[in-house]
Structure formats: C-alpha cells, structure tokens
C-alpha cells in the first residue's frame, strides 16, 4: 500500500514539476477498467484445490488484455512489459518466488514463516528455492524500511509505467482535447482546421 501511494504521489509531484495539471488527468480515457478490477478480485478469492493458481494466472491474462487495450496511452507499453515479466515468472514457477536475501534485507525476516508454513494462503508467492526458474524476475529486490518490501523487476516496470501514465496525462493541454479530430463530410480534420474550412452549404 505504501509503495502504491508513494508511486501515485510521486508521479503527481513529477507531473506538476513537469508543468502538468491534475485537472488534465480527468481527460485520460482508460478503456476496459473493469478488467483490472476483475483481475484483482480473482486474486482475492481462495477456493480449494488448484483453483487459486488458475485464478491467479487468469487474472494476469485479464491484466495483460487491459494493458493491451490501453496500449496507445503513454505508459501502458511499459506496464505491459512489467505485467508480462511478472506473468512469466509466476507461470514458470506456479507463483512468484521471493528470495530469502531480499526478505531479510527489506526488514521482513519475520515473515519468512508465513511463506513457508502458510503457503496455501499465499498462492501468489513462495520462498525461492533451487528449483525456481527465471529467478531474476522474482521478488529479489529489497526495498528497505519504511517501504520494507521485496519487489521484482516487473514491479518496477509496472509502477514506472503507471507513473508515466500520470505524468503524461497531467502534461496534456486542454487544447489537445479541443484539437481532437472531428469527422466532417467524410474527411478527418483537426477541429481547428475544420473551423477554417469555408462553408460550402447555402
């Protein structure tokens, strides 16, 4: 939660420093947002058997589709790379491997027991061992307190991508919206150009 809030706040601050405005963010059109919500909800339910893993993989499919649906918005290509990285390592290892060193270095040594003894409740993560593949994509990067989290390279891309989305959307001038193309008599013209076209009616 701290990392998410810090990312959003930092992005807004950078957006302002970049000459952007928060009000411009309301011009951002995010497509198929319910996919992200459903994808998130799928990770919260914990049915018996292998279903949690199926739901986890399914949620990443939805999140990938969500990122692709918005790929034309600045930042979503970076988000897609991050989602793909996390998806890859989770699919390869039936969950995200978390390195013991990253846990200790991030000040979470006391949670080692959760990963080892309560694996059923934490299907998304497990303690990394020698059998895990593509471990470099796992949660191997330690963020020291007060953040105190172990994150993956894919997380950096995902968080960075969201920050780019916010900074770029804040920078967008209202004029850009006004210049949105308008269809006039079969031709696609910027509104300003359309206004300059002499009327042929009458």
């Amino acid at each position: 939660m701290k990392l998410i809030l810090a990312t959003l706040l930092l992005a807004v601050v950078v957006g302002y420093l970049n000459g952007g405005r928060l009000s411009n963010l309301s011009h951002l059109r995010i497509r198929w947002a319910p996919l992200a919500l459903v994808g998130f909800a799928m990770q919260l339910v914990n049915p018996p058997g292998d279903w949690p893993l199926v739901m986890l993989l399914g949620s990443f499919v939805l999140l990938s589709i969500f990122a692709i649906a918005n790929i034309r918005t600045a930042g979503f290509a970076v988000i897609l790379i991050g989602v793909a990285m996390n998806f890859t390592v989770i699919a390869l290892n039936s969950g995200m491997p978390v390195s013991r060193q990253a846990l200790i270095a991030s000040g979470q040594a006391d949670t080692l027991g959760d990963l080892v003894n309560d694996a059923d409740s934490y299907v998304k993560h497990h303690l990394a061992d020698g059998d895990d593949r593509a471990l470099f994509l796992g949660d191997v990067i330690a963020l020291a307190p007060p953040i105190a989290q172990a994150v993956s390279v894919g997380d950096f891309y995902t968080y960075g991508g969201v920050a780019i989305v916010i900074v770029a959307a804040m920078k967008r001038r209202p004029d850009d919206v006004a210049d949105t193309v308008a269809v006039t008599e079969g031709a696609l013209l910027p509104r300003r150009a359309r206004d300059e076209v002499p009327s042929v009616s009458g």
């Binding site: 939660m1 990392l3 998410i4 990312t7 959003l8 928060l22 009000s23 963010l25 309301s26 951002l28 995010i30 947002a33 992200a36 919500l37 994808g39 998130f40 990770q43 949620s59 990443f60 999140l63 969500f66 988000i79 991050g82 989602v83 996390n86 390592v89 989770i90 995200m96 978390v98 990253a102 846990l103 979470q108 949670t111 959760d114 990963l115 409740s121 934490y122 998304k124 993560h125 949660d139 989290q149 172990a150 994150v151 993956s152 894919g154 997380d155 995902t158 968080y159 969201v162 989305v165 916010i166 959307a169």
Partner: protein
C-alpha cells in the same frame, strides 16, 4: 482557486486513480504478508 478546483472532473479523476491503483495492486507481485 475555487474555479480551478470546480473545473476538475473529480468523479472521473477518482475513477482513473482507482483503476490505476487496482492495476498496481493486481499486477504488482511484491511480497507483502496479509497480516
């Protein structure tokens, strides 16, 4: 200032923020125990 604040579409801003935060919650794979 008040006019500026009024010009913001807060409902949509909230929708956008919630969408991005949800994405981060779901797509991020950082380790954070539930308790």
């Amino acid at each position: 200032m008040r006019a500026k604040l009024r010009s913001v579409n807060w409902r949509y801003l909230l929708y956008t923020g919630a969408s991005l935060a949800t994405l981060l919650f779901a797509a991020g794979a950082r380790w954070k125990p539930k308790n």
